[in-house]
């Protein structure tokens, strides 16, 4: 205490009063009573008459003077008492008012709790943590939970009311969503466990049985498309419900319930539904339905794989029918076009409805690969298709159109397992196109070669490119020939020679036929010229591949220019010296092989509009007893008449066998080369591994037959490239 100085005003009484530790218990009780009264007033909506400052101080003093426990216990019992009263009033509410009453009282309670917490702030911050008791706000929530929500009279009624409202909304009624929102939020505020146990779990169960029933009902009376529409609608509805008045965490749970009941449980029945299932949708290009199915099924496990499997077996089945239907196989170009159309159709489906899903693309590809190779004429037919396009089909098409079509053909090409067969036919057909000059566009031809090169490598196309080179070189040669020898040649027939390098072109051995004298002369002159500038080469005339343009004058003086094959020219020239000849005469004079001769005569005498020869008897087929006469009475509207037969067409059965045989022969050395390559690097290897490795190396060109591989190995053993291991017969060793 300091001395001196004027007496200070000091409010002794207040100070001592305030800071006395040993507070009169009666004072404490009085203070508590003030606070208790305030709590009641707050719940009675009479808070406006209270002074926060005073109440705060009262509570502060109690705690300061070590009466925290009394204060807390008093709070707890007062609040409990009030909540029990509230519970009664809620229970008493009738029908629809029950939920509203609950909600209103909850709002009131929250507001009251807030005020009480403010007043008891000091206790909350000091006494509560020190004594490890529940903070005021949490206490208020727990008491609400225990005495209202879990009160037996209210608990089940609340759940039933909520579920009933949701059911009604599902059946089309409008309900008070704001109220629902408020109630579910209340449950969440009381703790996630309360929300889940007292609402969410039963809600999910009820939902499951609701949709179990509804899905059963729908599937009996709806077709697949409509069922899916309804399912989609219900799914969206449930998600919307969550966003409006349920907790966000429920969304994943509810959608999985709906997915299970409506989709997963009925997946197979839907996909296979007669007249409306997946296959029907594919056939009819129902993009919307397909997209809907895709989006719904991807939500459930195995959903997409189910669709994929059904689609794959449908494709394989349809494809198989396509390639084995004898009707379809009559026209190769139509056949391939049909394949391309199927591919386009399903590409579009996958693009538009299945979101370009790669796994579906793969399924499509593997299906096509499967059935295209079921027919071993596929390589030939695809080549014929290209031939048709390059010969006339692409006439007038823009560069882009050309690229598009060729790219599509390449897609089919990729599916072929026997690419070497394709190569053989492509060469044949290309040769005919080049030699007859019948190609729509040089650029298109080149473009195709480039695509094949990109796909299969330089080896595949080097000979094809050689063919183009030969054509160009020949052109240059002819220009030079005529430049140098024009005086010598004078007025004879004009010659146009294509010089073909033997390795590049698909030439068949050709027995020479007897050319007319005029032709022979000029041919010899050319031979001399050429061998003069190219030492050491050998020239052989391919009389089965040439063409000729002949000027012919008929009975009434009509002049026509006939475009014919070399063989046909030989035959026709005979009629310059006589009017009639027997088959045997012609055969002898021309030395043309029988089958070729028959075909040649058929096109000269038996085809309407092209019958420059008359045959007796007038039958359709050529027999060796027939006689032929120059047809004076031949007429044609065209001045230039085409009678040539050098057009690429589907091979006859014997031709086909021949080609196939040649292909098999060509494969043998390729297989052997592969075996040697492998054994050289691996030194020792067992039989099965060799077969696997050889297949891997060659599969870009063709699928080697294991039996053939075995034979080749044996042949290599005989020729001492390999040996069998003494101990293990299945093991082979490389002999250096």
């Amino acid at each position: 205490m300091s001395g001196g100085g004027p007496p200070r005003k000091r409010n002794f009484k207040i100070e001592l009063f305030k800071h006395r530790v040993e507070l009169d218990p009666k004072y404490a009780e009085r203070t508590w009573k003030v606070l208790e009264h305030a709590i009641h007033e707050i719940y009675n909506h009479n808070a406006s008459g209270l002074s926060f400052e005073e109440l705060y101080r009262s509570a502060y003093n109690m705690v300061l003077h070590k009466y925290g426990e009394k204060l807390y216990d008093g709070l707890e019992s007062t609040m409990t008492w009030r909540l029990k009263e509230i519970s009664k009033s809620i229970e008493a509410a009738q029908g629809g008012l029950f939920l509203e009453e609950l909600n209103t009282k909850w709002m009131d309670h929250n507001k009251a709790l807030q005020m009480i917490r403010d007043i008891l702030m000091y206790m909350d911050r000091t006494y509560v943590p020190q004594s490890r008791r529940t903070p005021v706000h949490e206490l208020g929530l727990n008491l609400w939970r225990d005495h209202i929500i879990h009160s037996p009279m209210i608990h089940s009624r609340l759940l039933d009311t909520l579920l009933d409202l949701i059911h009604r909304e599902r059946m089309g009624e409008m309900i008070n969503r704001g109220l629902m929102r408020s109630i579910t939020k209340m449950l969440m505020d009381l703790g996630a466990a309360v929300y889940q146990d007292d609402f969410e779990k039963p809600f999910l169960e009820v939902t499951a049985s609701f949709y179990s029933g509804e899905s059963q009902e729908f599937i009996e009376c709806c077709d697949c498309g409509n069922y899916l529409k309804k399912s989609e609608r219900r799914l969206n509805e449930e998600m919307e419900r969550v966003s409006h008045y349920l907790d966000a965490g429920t969304e994943a749970k509810i959608t999985s319930v709906v997915e299970k009941e409506m989709i997963a449980n009925h997946m197979h029945r839907l996909v296979h539904m007669e007249n409306s299932g997946l296959v029907n949708m594919l056939v009819d290009d129902k993009y919307d339905d397909l997209a809907r199915m895709y989006n719904l099924f991807r939500r459930v496990s195995d959903g997409l794989s189910t669709i994929r499997d059904v689609m794959t077996s449908y494709l394989r089945e349809t494809g198989k029918q396509l390639v084995t239907d004898p009707e379809r196989l009559k026209d190769p170009v139509e056949f391939v076009q049909r394949l391309l159309n199927e591919k386009d159709k399903h590409d579009k489906i996958i693009n538009v409805a299945f979101g370009n899903d790669k796994t579906f693309q793969n399924a499509l590809n593997s299906s096509f690969e499967y059935f295209i190779n079921l027919n071993n004429r596929s390589p030939e037919f695809i080549s014929l298709y290209v031939d048709d396009k390059l010969r006339k089909g692409l006439k007038g098409a823009t560069e882009e159109d050309v690229e598009v079509i060729l790219d599509k053909v390449m897609m089919l090409f990729r599916y072929l397992q026997e690419k070497d067969v394709f190569e053989k036919y492509y060469k044949q057909h290309l040769a005919k196109r080049l030699l007859s000059g019948k190609t729509v566009s040089d650029d298109a031809e080149r473009s195709m070669i480039v695509k094949l090169k990109t796909e299969c490598g330089y080896q595949f196309t080097s000979k094809l490119e050689g063919m183009f080179t030969d054509m160009k070189t020949s052109q240059d040669t002819m220009i030079d020939f005529y430049a140098k020898k024009s005086e010598e040649l004078g007025d004879g027939p004009t010659l146009d020679v294509h010089i073909l390098t033997t390795g590049s072109w698909p030439t068949q051995p050709c027995p020479p036929c007897n050319l007319p004298t005029e032709i022979l002369t000029i041919c010899d002159k050319f031979r001399t010229y050429y061998l003069g500038t190219h030492n050491g080469r050998r020239l052989t005339w391919q009389t089965n591949m040439g063409t000729a343009d002949i000027k012919a004058t008929f009975g009434k003086g009509q002049k026509h220019e006939l475009n014919v094959s070399t063989y046909q020219m030989c035959v026709l020239m005979l009629f310059n010296s006589t009017d009639g000849l027997t088959y045997k005469d012609i055969e002898q004079d021309t030395a043309i092989p029988a089958s070729d001769l028959k075909r040649c005569l058929q096109s000269l005498a038996c085809v309407k509009g092209k019958n420059v020869l008359r045959k007796e008897p007038m039958s359709k087929d050529i027999s060796e007893d027939d006689t032929f006469y120059f047809n004076d009475k031949f007429t044609s509207k065209l001045v230039k008449v085409k009678i040539g037969t050098v057009v690429a067409q589907k091979e006859s059965e014997p031709e086909k066998q021949e080609t196939r045989q040649r292909v098999e022969e060509d494969r043998k050395p390729q297989i052997e080369a592969a075996i040697v390559r492998i054994m050289k690097s691996r030194r020792v290897l067992d039989h099965n591994s060799i077969v696997a490795e050889v297949t891997k190396q060659l599969q870009a060109r063709f699928m080697p037959n294991p039996v053939v591989i075995k034979k080749r190995i044996e042949s290599l053993i005989e020729r001492e490239f390999l040996e069998r291991d003494k101990a293990d017969r299945k093991l082979y060793r490389y002999l250096a």
Partner: protein
Amino acid sequence: MVDHFNSSDVFFSVGGETFHAHRALLAARSPVFKALLLGSDSTAEACITLNDIEPATFQALLHFMYTDDFPPGAHSSSPDSSDDTEMLHRLLAAAHEYMLDGLKLMCARKLEESLSVETVARTLGYAQMCGCSELKSKCLDFFTAKKNIRAAVTEGYLWLWHNFPSVIQEIKVIWALEDLQI
């Protein structure tokens, strides 16, 4: 800002004196004022009467809330001025009640610096009441230092003896220990 009448939206009547203030600022500085001024039980009344606090103390409180500092001239140069010490005691108690921890700390430090034989007992009591453990332990050290034995015969000690028996016990224990050491 405390003296600005303009833009203030509440005033306090304390012991007959009037103080203007801004709700938002007070609410930002003290949770108790926040509940009082902005809470759901707050009053929209323009004037709030505060009992149980002296005008000078309230003024210092306000000044702190606006400036983070003691009012100018609140502490004189002589550390022994018990007027100042009393003021600090009251300010400390007010800061504790209105939950202004920054002010509490400042008061505690000031009190630490100005411990004297006359004031240590009271300061010790306030430290105990307001939960200032550092201040309390400094006071105990001071109290039980031999040269400060006269502190035991002050009025403050009597006050301490009446209101904080637990603290008296603590002092006795320390003395006993010291006796043993001698």
